[in-house]
Amino acid sequence: MQTKHFKILKKENLAPQIKLFRIRVPHIALKFQAGQFVVVRLNETGERIPLTIAEHNPEEGTITIVIQEVGKTTAQLGKMKEGETIEDILGPLGIPSPIKKVGTVLCVGGGLGVAPLYPEAKKYKEVGNKVISLIGAKSKNFFFFKERIERVSDEVLYSTDDGSSGHHGFVTDLIKKVLGRKEKIEEVIAIGPLPMMKAVSELTKKHDIETRVSLNSIMVDATGMCGGCRVTVGGKVKFTCVDGPGFDGHKVDFDELILRQKRFVREEKIALKCYLSTTTEA
């Protein structure tokens, strides 16, 4: 078994700064279940970052990850080419999503969150639920995975912040719209930026609809060893990496998490600046 140096088999540009990588990691492809993630370290001097798995193919021995270039490591990964290898990938990590047949569910995705939302929606559909997907983006250029999401959904509604496509506004507006139909919604899964997951959770709490969110905390080891990813859920401290990443959205202290996500903003900027200054010269 190979546990170091994983080959990139396919790379695809999905949207501005959003890229897909299909990587050969047979042992993870075999074990992955919706809701789980991997930790990746690109090379010897790299940091460990958590990335969600969007697709897996056990026969082919591959997993697919989708990244958005927001900092040094994602920018560096974004430059990697097919055939190159990633030094370390650990996984699958986290607790698989507890998906059962419940009736009608809303799968709400914002921005990059659509990638990890896809396996959840797929599983919801497979076990016999009616799936309504609500997908939001900044602008129409940022939509991706449309075909995939539509394939596993009974209905898909879109929104854009700038009104360039679909509803002009936020995914929360789409939720209100669906709730207005008086159809009983049993569960909501929301994945996206923290403010979006917070807004969705606040809205569904009013309507008393069970809501799961998938948190993307800052992690180091991602095996429960350091507590860097800790988050307050229902007044108790939980580690996102081993107790999550899925949690009851009505119990998560989003305000605390939003502040904790900014812990290394200054350092992240320095790292990106250093990286860009070396790569533009080359």
Partner: protein, 475 residues
């Protein structure tokens, strides 16, 4: 034999210089110094020192070789029992193990057994003497080791020497466990660790990083993959928090996070290495063990202006090695004894700014045998601190046990074993080190790994001679 009553001094970096770098503090004996120190050993008939060593190194024998200038013979003698001598010579608390039993310590200082062990190991590394090669054949029985810390590495090396085909599974991207992510470079250079680990690999041990047992594979998966026995040496890696207000403020680290960023991820070399670590001007480290000392000394080296150890008992009860506490003090770490934090206070950006503390007094001894700290009413006070490292101990990570239903645990979540053999409630599964005892020492974990290797060998032999169909030789 030498008449001197004190150890030959070991050269250390000047404290003012060393707090600016991560280089090793103590530089080790020269050959001349080692021979001089070795000559202090009385070669006594009863060798009480050996009984103090958890892996029972033949101490008088290896020291005698140094006395005679036969360094190769000396390291060979050590390696009969200890597969990580360069590590142990550096990080063992010899003052409470081998050296406390030394006859010399009745009148003056004990023989510097640890320094001599380190000398022999370093000598071999510098001489680059070719190590012996793998002994296991492809027809050997397969044994899995979960965790590549001191317990796992020791068990793996001993099993390989017994002829087994050993695979070590490690969750992180590099091996060594606490030796890699916990103990800083200035106490244990990672280049030293790498040589020791590569020596173990030369015995035929395969180390597979990036495998988290319980997630990547379960224990059941390993049994199905044809491993005849499994040793679990996953340590006590779950950080304890104080559970007081403000603990999730920006600026509050667990010692595990702080040290992992610095040691494993080399955040002290940011931005050459990508992982950041943020350090404030005034750092408080909560706790009094070796992890607290390491954290405090790391904080100084990262450029903190003032570093304080905040410990709820008195100096006497501190579990840290005396030498490390002295090193910390020399480097300018301040000690606040009989002090406990009550709350972490922050500003509206969620940044830690102050710590509310209370004074303690000591009461009757508790179950640990140390006098229990009791808060003094009305003695609350505020310390200006912008970074806190919580180093109050670790517990058992529940991840592996959750996916291994029949594994019997004690009430604290540690694995229950037969003390003699290391065998758990599941016959094929053995365990040792911190996951059995709770956080202890490197050498105690190594001792447990040794015992379990013997236990595994005995178990597999009994199975084979019984001719049980479930276990057969793997081709």
């Amino acid at each position: 034999m030498s008449d001197r009553t004190t150890k030959v001094e070991m050269h250390k970096q000047d404290p003012r210089k060393r707090i600016r770098n991560f280089n090793e503090v103590a530089s080790g004996y020269s050959a001349r110094e080692a021979v001089e120190e070795a000559k202090r050993c009385l070669q006594c008939k009863k060798f009480p020192c050996v009984k103090g060593c958890p892996v029972e190194i033949d101490i008088p024998a290896f020291i005698k070789c140094i006395q005679e200038g036969n360094f190769k013979a000396s390291i060979d003698k050590i390696k009969e029992k200890n597969n990580l001598p360069a590590v142990c010579g550096r990080v063992c608390p010899q003052e409470s193990q081998c050296e406390i039993k030394c006859v010399r310590s009745k009148k003056g200082e004990s023989v510097a057994i640890g320094r001599l062990e380190r000398f022999a190991a370093d000598w071999e590394m510098n001489e680059s003497v070719p190590s012996r090669c793998g002994t296991s054949s492809s027809s050997a029985m397969k044994v899995a080791v979960v965790g590549s810390g001191p317990a796992g590495l020791t068990a793996a090396a001993d099993l390989a020497k017994l002829g087994y085909q050993v695979t070590v599974f490690e969750a992180l991207h590099s091996s060594g466990g606490v030796l890699r992510y916990g103990i800083p470079e200035f106490r244990l250079p990672k280049s030293v660790l790498e040589v020791e680990i590569s020596n173990i690999e030369k015995l035929g041990v395969r180390i597979q990083p990036n495998v988290l047992i319980g997630k990547t594979f379960t224990i059941d998966d390993l049994l199905q993959q044809g491993f005849s026995a499994i040793f679990i040496g996953i340590g006590a890696g779950l950080p304890h928090f104080l559970n007081i207000p403000g603990e999730n403020l920006d600026g509050v680290y667990s010692a595990s996070e702080f040290l992992t960023r610095v040691n494993l991820m080399k955040a002290y070399q940011f931005p050459k290495y990508d992982t950041p670590v943020k350090i404030g001007r005034r750092v408080g480290v909560i706790g009094g063990g070796n992890v607290a000392m390491d954290s405090a000394r790391v904080a100084l080296r990262l450029g903190a202006e003032e570093v304080s150890i905040i410990y709820r008992r008195s100096k006497k009860e501190m579990p840290a090695r005396q030498e490390e506490a002295e090193n910390a003090e020399e480097e300018g770490v301040k000690f606040h004894f009989l002090t406990a934090p009550l709350a972490f206070l922050g500003n509206k950006e969620n940044q830690l700014t102050r710590v509310k503390c209370i004074q303690m007094k000591l009461g009757e001894p508790d179950e640990s045998g140390r006098r229990r700290p009791i808060p003094i009413k009305g003695s609350e006070f505020i310390m200006d601190i912008d970074t806190v490292v919580v180093a109050i101990g670790q517990g058992a990570n529940p991840l592996l046990a959750q996916t291994t239903p029949n594994l019997r645990l004690n009430h604290r979540g540690y694995i229950q074993i037969n003390e003699e053999t290391g065998q758990s409630s599941i016959p094929q599964i053995f365990a040792g080190g911190d996951i059995v005892t709770g956080a202890a020492t490197v050498i105690a974990a190594m001792g447990a790994g040794k015992k379990a290797a013997r236990g595994i060998d005995k178990y597999i032999r009994s199975k084979v001679t019984c001719g049980e169909a479930s276990i057969k030789k793997i081709d």
